[in-house]
Symmetry: C2
Subunit: 165 residues, 2 copies
DNA sequence: ATAGTTAATGTTACATTATAACATAACATA
DNA sequence: TATGTTATGTTATAATGTAACATTAACTAT
């Protein structure tokens, strides 16, 4: 098992997003089956909507799109589905944006470290054991027991820097 | 200059909060004078309210208290003051809580790393160059230029663990 | 001193994000 | 099929945050 992974790079080079999305849905299905949980059509649809691109998506934007095919949707519809997906590690919430991104790595529950480009809006997720480990070490020094870590880094991705926006 | 500081420890042992608050206000005054900025009575009052304890405070709670002596207060009153104080590094926003904490270290603009106890609600701020440096190093690997880092760690502080809540 | 300028605050209205509470429907299984 | 559990529907409202414009206070340069 690699310890430090780039879960999701910036603007994955020349990737066919349809396949990317399919893979995520498939991983989610497998994960839920393994866990004895139900990836209902509603939950799957919300997951697909979050996965439409590699940018964080707002709950109410998901809601608007969800309504197109599912007129009974209301805020709780979306928030419940997002809660479920978050609990399973299938999406992460970006706290500093009040927005959600898909995660293709539901296997091990993790928090992840997010790098958010101000220019293009896209997000890269790392799951870096060095960062987690260092934070853990620092916490140990004053007897703090970690439940959950949130690391969100804002700045400019290489591609945007190079294109000189 | 020390590189790794505990800006604000958990439940500062046997501290007289009145003095703690006074020191923060004084530091704020000095900082604003140095910068040629106005720590108006309103801004100072908001800073005092945020500093009432070492826990994150909600904007609307500040508003409620502010209204007691300043009946014309409305949401923009508080958010403007908080924006000013954040810009000056006098308070930090804890994004994962939508809440604000005072910072006694306005000198150097910094992001800080926050350790938040689920049990007692208090927050410790580190300004740890090792953590920042490591994040910086990881970012460099994929050409990401950091503007701002947010590190918010949730868990249980030593005191609460020991008291076995 | 005072007119012009900028910064700060007042005020109203509204936008965005999220949850409570209870009703109904779908599913699981004895 | 009766029964409990999980998921969804529905209404209402809470919590968080901002836009836009009016007014007041403070600063600046004559």
């Amino acid at each position: 098992m690699k310890k430090n992974k780039v879960i999701s790079p910036f603007k994955p080079a020349a990737h066919k997003h349809q396949e990317c999305l399919q893979a995520a849905i498939k991983a989610a299905k497998t994960h839920c089956e393994d866990m004895g949980l139900r990836l209902t059509p509603l939950r799957q649809r919300v997951l697909e909507l979050v996965w439409q691109n590699h940018e964080p998506v707002k709950a109410y934007d998901v809601l608007d799109e969800l309504k197109q095919g599912h007129s009974s949707s209301a805020p709780p519809t979306v928030y419940r589905a997002l809660d479920f997906l978050q609990d399973q590690g299938l999406v992460h919430k970006i706290e500093s944006l009040n927005a959600y991104v898909g995660c293709g790595n539901p296997k091990e529950l993790h928090s992840g470290q997010f790098f958010i480009c101000h220019d293009c809006g896209s997000v890269a997720e790392l799951d870096d054991a060095d960062i987690s480990g260092l934070i853990q070490k620092k916490a140990n020094r004053f007897g703090f027991k970690i439940d959950n870590e949130m690391v969100e880094i804002k700045g400019h991705c290489q591609e945007c820097l190079e294109s000189g926006i």
